[in-house]
Amino acid sequence: MIIQRLLRFLPGILLAMALNQVPGLAQVTYQRLLRADSEPANWLTYSGNYQSHRYSQLNQVNRQNVAQLKPAWVYQIRQAGVVETTPIVADGVMYITEPPSTVTALDVSTGRPLWTYSPSIPADVIAIGSPFGQVNRGVAILDDTVFVGTVHSHLVALDAKSGAVRWDTVVADNKLGYWLTLAPLALDGKIIAGVSGAEAGIRGFVDAYDAKTGERLWRTWTVPAPGEPGSETWAGDSWKTGGGSTWLTGSFDPELNLLYWATGNPAPDWNADERPGDNLYTCALLALDPRDGKMKWYFQFTPHDTHDWDANQIPVLFDAAINGRQRKLVTVANRNAFYYVLDRETGEFISGTPYAKQTWAEGLDAKGRPILRPGMDPSVEGTLVYPYVGGPANWHSPTYSPQTKLFYQAVREVGAFYLKGEADYKPGLAFVGGGQRALTGDDAYGAVRAMDATTGQMKWEFKLQSPPVAGLLSTAGGLVFGGTEEGNFFALDAESGRPLWDIQLGGGIRSGPISIAVDGKQYVVISAGFALFVFGLP
């Protein structure tokens, strides 16, 4: 019996050994994270690699056979809620989060739970700003520890084999509206985390914690205090409640030793009367030195935002020739409807192109600053502006395929009447000053768009019935996987956008797909509704 089982696992063990890993021991070293691309059987970080490509090198599932994909197993989420998790898969174990902040480890070949951890969250926990409630996007793994951010604003380190708590650190005061939804990012001995809460008027920051002890190593505020650089872009005390959340996992360039982290909207969102100025460093991308958190450069996409266009989208890193010169790039499909190409060494603006309908800017100037159209601010009566508050892009992941050199984004085409209201700061309550009345229903639609990654020029689009909340995955099999609000999980030809396969999963898809291999066989994983689905070839 034992021999038989060993024999059955042998190919997997051999494969694992060939890939220089020890099965059953979740020893995910920093070296392995650095070379995540070289072990495509696993999915070691939120976006698949530090460059945030959400691309899988696996090609067993490809254009020819993708139509044969069948469910291998399904895991039912235990507490109803919106599932935004990207699983982390390492050495035969899949680590997912379930709403609100539960971590569950599953046997990757059967879906059987191995352990689960649920923090005790106070009943009066404050979670303001997410339309989907108390969500979580996943864990990080480093060595033999799994890290999760919680809705009550803790960062917790769990033993990867048992789920036992190694340490539990309070990141910030939840009573002030701070909470954590993002998957942390593991670097060399450090865990990087950011916060949600701009809709409650927090002052945002990016933190680094010692992975072994949970001790805070540094904190970089996203809104400067008086006297600090950028403080001249705030009036009076407005910086104290200035927002600038950091609620989505960033990217990392080990060679430049730079961390790329995005910031959210200034607070209050839609009533900017008390915060004249550019409101640095909100709605921006920050390049931070991971050793001390010092800001090497920043690029602000939407100065003095009045539409809640958080820049919390995934920054994608790749190198490419621009005007004959090879450059290190970071690109972002921003929530304000422009696709930005920046030099990731210096932050220099290279280009910015609309990739969705927008009516608020004439364009971008030579430095990438928007040239505003007048009369686009929110009003009491409502001002019609494209894009809507949710933006064409949001946290849902794009993917970059080194094979096609295309950047794929699930786009939402929606306009909204932007409403201005009162903004009244009370700790732990909504501090938003307005909202929107979106043109939903048949007036809105979605699309998967493929863009030339260096220019943002659209190559093809695949229309979706409604604005999507699901991220994308591209694979070496020449495929792009995505999902819809109506519950369709689908695969497109990465070159042409032609649909090759789809299945109805019975619940909206609000997470990003990943691909892994178990015993040498490729699987594609996605959550939909209250379940997690794993698909493989028959």
Binding site: F417, E422, G435, S466, E485, E486, F490, D502
Partner: protein, 262 residues
Amino acid sequence: MVTVQRVRAGILPCLLLAASTLAAAQSPSDVEQGRRLYDGMCVTCHGFDGAGGEAPSLSRPMSHTDETLKSIIGNGIPNRGMPRVRRFTDNEVLQLVSYVRSLGRVASVSLPGNAERGGEVYRRQGCTSCHMVNGNGSSLGPELTGIGALRAPQHLKQALADPGAVLPRGTLPIPARAYFEYLPVLVVTEDGREVRGMRINEDTFTIQLRDAGNRFHTFRKSNLRRIEKETGKSLMPSYRDRLTAAETDDLVAYLSSLRGAK
């Protein structure tokens, strides 16, 4: 947009006057602020001056306490088409409540028609062949048992004269996201077969219809040559030329009296 124009046309000038004089009697600035908020956020559904439209009229006395009104406005009514439009400060909710209350002081307009006679018209005209009331009739069109609580008289009148001008909206905010319900769709299959029906549901890859015979059809979009969404049309015939003005008034009075299962 259609809604706003239609409802505006339906407002009686005297009603407007009455609203503003009575409103002035209570904290004028609150009511006025409330009106501005209302015009930005509520008017598309509840009509100008709360005259009603896609959503019920608010210019009538309501039994809600201030607390219930606050909760309705602040949180919406789940799955009934009344959304939480946005987050409000306490003060803004108070202003909206004041405004809605000021509307409620307007004496409810008595409808010109006679509901009993309207019930006769309803049966005579064969509305039953497409609609259900209290479990009787056919289910091709929307159930009308509670239509009087959901729709204002102006809307009902328009529904008879110009069906399709405003189709009912889906009421689940997510995931139905306020699609038009009963949207007429014509599909042509690869082999040239035509099917016309109302959209029951749709996703990126499939569409479900119910035809005029109340038969259900489902299609994969990739197997269709054409999908034509007939926005602005309805499977319900117009009764503009089939009813006298008096019959229309009676019918509207009857429909308005339908306030839910008895």
